[in-house]
Symmetry: C2
Subunit: 364 residues, 2 copies
DNA sequence: CTGTTAGCGCCTTCAG
DNA sequence: CTGAAGGCGCTAACAG
């Protein structure tokens, strides 16, 4: 289909051998630096010189045919690279792989299971050494069984398929610790009335995060049940709406304000948001209400979204989702390592990124 | 380096032949649907059945060794996929390539020329059919000459290297038309006092855009020389600062306010920004000054940055940079096409995206 | 210490 | 209409 590669044909190992006056075998030995073979220093040098003179580089397709290793890793992601998080994980895997002289064959599936399957097949046809399977928005996935034909690692997702669950390394963000840390930052700054403006109620991330948050609250002697808790949709508009509700002291229909006292009447001093976009929505509602950040209200985001969190005004304190680190970790699993992986998923830390949106109110 | 692919060895064409009772040759003929060979309907069916039964898929590495075509395209980009624009172009190329059964081997170089060179070599070693070379932020690039070993296309960049300039198709955004269109939108809405808060002064995009803007102004009878023009740095903070300056009526040191009259004293009714991030900075400054968008001030962005322009409040009107389209166009050039490409770069349109940040003031 | 031989899986003349 | 033989570029046994 593609235009024939116009290139003048590359030199082969035979060409190198001819020039150096040795056999292709010797060329191979020298280039692969084989320890079990003894090569004269002189011969080695002649080969190396010939390689340099011809600009010889081994044909990896041929090498792959012979060795079954292509130094190529398949990377399957649900979201296109346009998504900064998808891109972050790709970048992490890319950089790690590159250090090991491997490259990434990247496919995105738009969440279509059929594309997903054929993508994996296409990768296998190209003899990739391994497959990394990534997703934006942590969740359970169903994988084509053929994926086990090759070492594979799950990035930001997991499976319950019995045939796969034990064989695939899995890396996930440690959302519970992230939620805990986010709440702790607020608590440590003296906040006691914290409104929780979380994302989609059912999501894995929201559930885990909430658990961490509750633990932090409890530890600090704040009753989680009296804490204002709302679920949004991870988008700016819901951050905006929920913040208005909170400010109005109104309890929405879906509000899960559990306290029996008139908790709704006490305005919170801090907002803990489901992600940075919701935090941005909160900024807008706060601005409209004439409240200043962080003087009148502290705001905590989540995600550390590029081109957003740091650019907000004031810059948003948030918790970083370790997409890059997950991609990197996943690639790392494909290469010989000293320590065997433990059983079960590996959780990577979500570091707190402190910026200007949080005020200390210790002098409560 | 990579763990050996654990997979049970795949069936070969010979296996299929054995099962179907034919030679591997016949299998090849059937699978490649060769018109110059006559195969009995019955034989063909037996082969196809055997293929299905074994789940046979040709080994593309072997195929590539034989045919010199790997159905794989190298994609070199300066920015990692984290950048939404880099990702947009990748997605465009990916989707087009996929329709032609090709996959993308993606490398990013972090603008390091050495990495750039070795990336291209690594791609060539893997026998890619072609290379797409992309950049974020249109500019001139210097390419390793070896890139011509294979068909290549330049995405959002161009070269002046004499050995390459005539042989490489180039695709660029039509910034001049984009600038013209952006200004026209404002002009058509009745705005006459438009402050131009552009990006980096020296950039290709800024220059082209400015030319288009000036043309639109002139056509509308507005003297471009009396128009407030500032250059920033494409980031939110400069949009913020420049807007404050404009509002204060102050002329900064670097101001290129050309009018001789007291142009600084007339507050503009519209801001035309160098990109969406600067527009966002303008939003912040406007908000602080108590000005409402679009009632008190219309704002026009540029880029249509994902997760930003549409999410702002009010949603930002902007001009879309056609990264996806450029990636797609580039991939298209690699496949047989009906019309030969003209000489010189191909300019792709930057469509205006109208949202809520612009008010009509026809009743001036 | 190095060369010869064989074969990875596929496609492609060339015979039959 | 189909099969046998050869080779793409490389590496791995096995000789010498």
């Amino acid at each position: 289909m593609v235009l024939a590669g116009g290139g003048g044909s590359r030199p082969t190992a035979a060409d190198v051998g001819r020039l150096a006056g040795v056999s292709p075998t010797t060329v191979s030995f020298v280039l692969n630096d084989r320890q079990d073979q003894v090569i004269t220093q002189a011969t080695r040098q002649r080969v190396l010189d010939a390689v340099r003179e011809l600009g010889y580089r081994p044909n990896r397709a041929a090498q792959g045919l012979r060795t079954n290793r292509t130094a190529t890793i398949g990377y399957v992601t649900d979201e296109a690279a346009v998504d900064p998080f998808a891109g972050g994980a790709i970048a992490g895997a890319h950089d790690f792989a590159r250090r090991h002289r491997s490259m990434l064959l990247v496919v995105h599936t738009n969440r279509d299971p059929r594309i997903r399957r054929s993508a994996i097949e296409d990768l296998l046809d190209r003899q990739v050494d391994a497959i990394l399977f990534a997703v934006v928005g942590t969740r359970r996935v169903t994988l084509p069984e053929i994926i086990v034909k090759v070492p594979a690692v799950l990035v930001n997702c997991f499976t319950v398929q019995s045939s796969l669950v034990s064989s695939l390394p899995v890396v996930l963000p440690d959302e519970e610790a992230g939620g805990y840390a986010a709440a702790r930052v607020l608590l440590d700054a003296g906040h006691r009335e914290i409104a929780l403006l979380l994302g989609t109620a059912g999501s894995w991330a929201s559930r885990k995060r909430l658990r961490g948050i509750r633990r932090a609250l409890t530890e600090a002697g704040v009753d989680p049940r009296t804490t204002h808790l709302e679920h949004g949709n991870f988008r700016a508009d819901s951050g905006y709406q929920l913040t208005r509700q909170v400010l109005a002291g109104s309890r929405s229909a879906g509000s899960r304000l559990a306290g029996s006292r008139s908790a709704g009447s006490r305005r919170p001093t801090a907002l803990l948001c489901g992600n940075d976009r919701m935090a941005y929505g909160a900024y807008l509602a706060l601005g409209e209400a004439g409240l200043r950040i962080p003087e009148d209200m502290s705001v905590m985001g989540y995600d550390d979204q590029a081109d957003l969190a740091a650019d907000l005004h004031p810059a948003l304190s948030t918790v970083r989702l370790p997409y890059y680190a997950m991609g990197s970790w996943a690639a790392e699993q494909l290469f010989p390592r000293s320590v065997a992986p433990g059983i079960g998923p590996t959780y990577l830390p979500c570091p707190v990124v402190l910026r200007d949106s949080i005020a200390s109110i210790t002098g409560l």
